[in-house]
Symmetry: C2
DNA sequence: TTTAGCAAACTTGTTGTTTGACTGCTAATA
DNA sequence: TATTAGCAGTCAAACAACAAGTTTGCTAAA
């Protein structure tokens, strides 16, 4: 149940959070007196109460107030406004999303880069779950006498490749037989079909050894499972944050990013249609307790083509981030519908 | 013509540079007295002379000496030793390069990541020039009614894709005709064949409009030209550098990296078989005057599969960087020959 | 040619002091 | 009862003055 706050307290909390998001400095009662119709003493009294119920904190006895995690949560749930995009910013986004892409996954990357650019936070994306994407074509190419490359095209436009090494030489005939076999068995079916029992891939008139087929299936299955490529943009944005000057905030942050997998893990949890927000300890990962993560899934034709997230300090401009995400998401889908993509 | 230095001066210069590379502190005459068989006064005299000919600099009247760009250049050309790799490090490299890769270009990325990991500098790579790679297969996939994807496989294992948008609907028949046309015209030829005059692609019995073909060729040509994807690893390594504490070195550095294109540009210039070193202003780019760049081309089967570079402070451990690069380069080619890749 | 010795230059770290920005509390006010 | 003015107490940040420690360049001796 949401805490009950009177109108003025709401205003004060909102003002403090927005001020703090902007300046990263503890905000004082005097600072707010212009925006509210009451004296600094009144504000001080309310601030004391907001602190008592855990929405605000102090850095030392005579400092201004700083929002707590609980405070941010209340703000995000109850007070936030999401009309923060300027005409100019929308223009930039539209412009970016219309740049030519080569690979489909580049589209997600461009969205990520744009997100980082507009919000000034670090944006991160993990590759899509391709299990239910339909196989359109499979091709094998011999790179070395014992090195084979498999390429799989899907209807969503996402391509998966795998380099497979053998202990024996592979002949061109075998490559051809492999191509025919996998084409006949898999084209038109979803990628997860690769998980079927080995027997299903064996044909009577086959000359090729069963070990080769087994190996190929194994390797391809690996890439389907672990194809969660992580792409990250704007990591350096931290150095422009005021927190950066104190302590080793920047260092900590960059080290967190180094552990891409950790962040990717949180993004994974967040699989959903809507935007999800994790504030500080809500990520339930010790290393991320000083950061917030906002994620959304990027769907095209109903298929997941990647999860995109923003990671930044808990003092994040949630309002801006949400606005941008919503806009990008909408734009991508509209464009696709209109064939503009 | 290389400056003439007597044996002791060489030793002093080398000692100063290596000490400075390690500590990032100006090095004093007293500091070196253990490594050399003479007194600090003698060293001071030599240091004064080395300063006079521009190999050393001072930060203030009574500070120790710091190498100048010219000093580093002399060091790199004349004094450097390249046996800096420990058994342990070689092991790590071997280990990394043997991890499974899916796409061939991932191999270059892994090399890049490894390079960054071992040297603790930022590593960067740009995609290969694919003009002379042989086309093995071409495939078109319809993603939307007006959105077509082209996929080109090459003999080197490098794949290029392009998303092409049309102003009119594309039918499945047209896709098939396109596939047949391009396959017959291009398979077995190098990618640069796509640059041939339009007429060469027109067949008598063709039903499809010429505009479609024109558009397809245009778009594919674009990706061949501009397929210089930039991949970067270890940008955060700067925060661990002592310089980072002073001024805004880290900020500057990260902002430089933001301009990936700039760095990519330098890498491009460096196309050559051998390792190239650019110290400070030698890059001839104002923004990079405080950095050094070391690059090498990664060839496989004689074909360029990407240029890899290291970017770091002029105070870079050139010796280490060169050792690692040489080792990685050798390892990659050996592995490929042995089919281990 | 090398070295010892020493004054001068300059950085770094410490300490004490001042200044200014807050808050919390009390008492007056609407 | 809710608000406000006024004021003492608290703390951080900025500053100055000072001491200590490096390192150089120079001079004169070895």
């Amino acid at each position: 149940m949401p805490e009950e706050l009177d109108k003025r307290k709401k205003k004060i909390l909102q003002a403090i959070i927005e001020e703090y998001i902007e300046t990263a400095e503890p905000v004082s009662s005097g600072n707010l007196v212009n925006q509210l119709e009451c004296s600094s003493a009144t504000i001080r009294n309310d601030m004391a109460e907001l602190e008592k119920i855990g929405f605000l904190e102090k850095t030392h006895t005579s400092s201004g107030r700083v929002p707590s995690q609980k405070g941010y949560r209340y703000y995000v749930d109850e007070l936030i406004r999401d009309d923060k995009l300027s005409k100019r910013e929308m223009e930039i986004i539209r412009d970016r999303l219309e740049t030519k892409v080569n690979a489909l996954e580049d589209l997600t990357k461009i969205a990520t880069t744009t997100l980082s650019e507009i919000t000034h936070y670090t944006a991160i994306t993990i590759g899509p779950d391709v299990n239910n994407h339909i196989i359109v074509d499979i091709k094998f190419v011999l790179l070395g006498s014992r090195v084979l490359m498999a390429v799989i095209l899907t209807d969503s436009g996402i391509i998966r490749e795998s380099i497979i090494k053998f202990d024996e030489d592979i002949t061109n005939e075998q490559v051809e037989e492999l191509t025919n076999l996998f084409k006949s068995k898999l084209v038109g079916k979803p990628l997860q079909t690769m998980n079927a029992p080995l027997e299903e891939f064996i044909m009577d008139e086959m000359k090729m050894g069963i070990n080769i087929i087994k190996k190929v299936i194994e390797e391809i299955n690996k890439i389907i499972l672990e194809s969660k490529e992580v792409f990250l943009d704007g990591a350096n944005k931290v150095v422009n944050m005021p927190e950066f000057k104190k302590n080793d905030v920047a260092k900590d942050f960059l080290n967190v990013l180094d552990a891409k997998d950790l962040v990717a893990d949180v993004l994974n949890t967040g699989m959903a249609d809507d935007i999800k927000i994790y504030i500080g300890e809500e990520t339930e990962r010790e290393e991320l307790k000083n950061f917030s993560i906002v994620t959304f899934n990027h769907l095209l034709k109903g298929k997941d083509i990647g999860t995109i997230g923003i990671i930044g300090p808990t003092r994040m401009d949630y309002s801006k981030v949400i606005s941008v995400m919503k806009y990008i998401s909408k734009k991508l889908n509209d464009d696709f519908k209109n064939g503009k993509l």
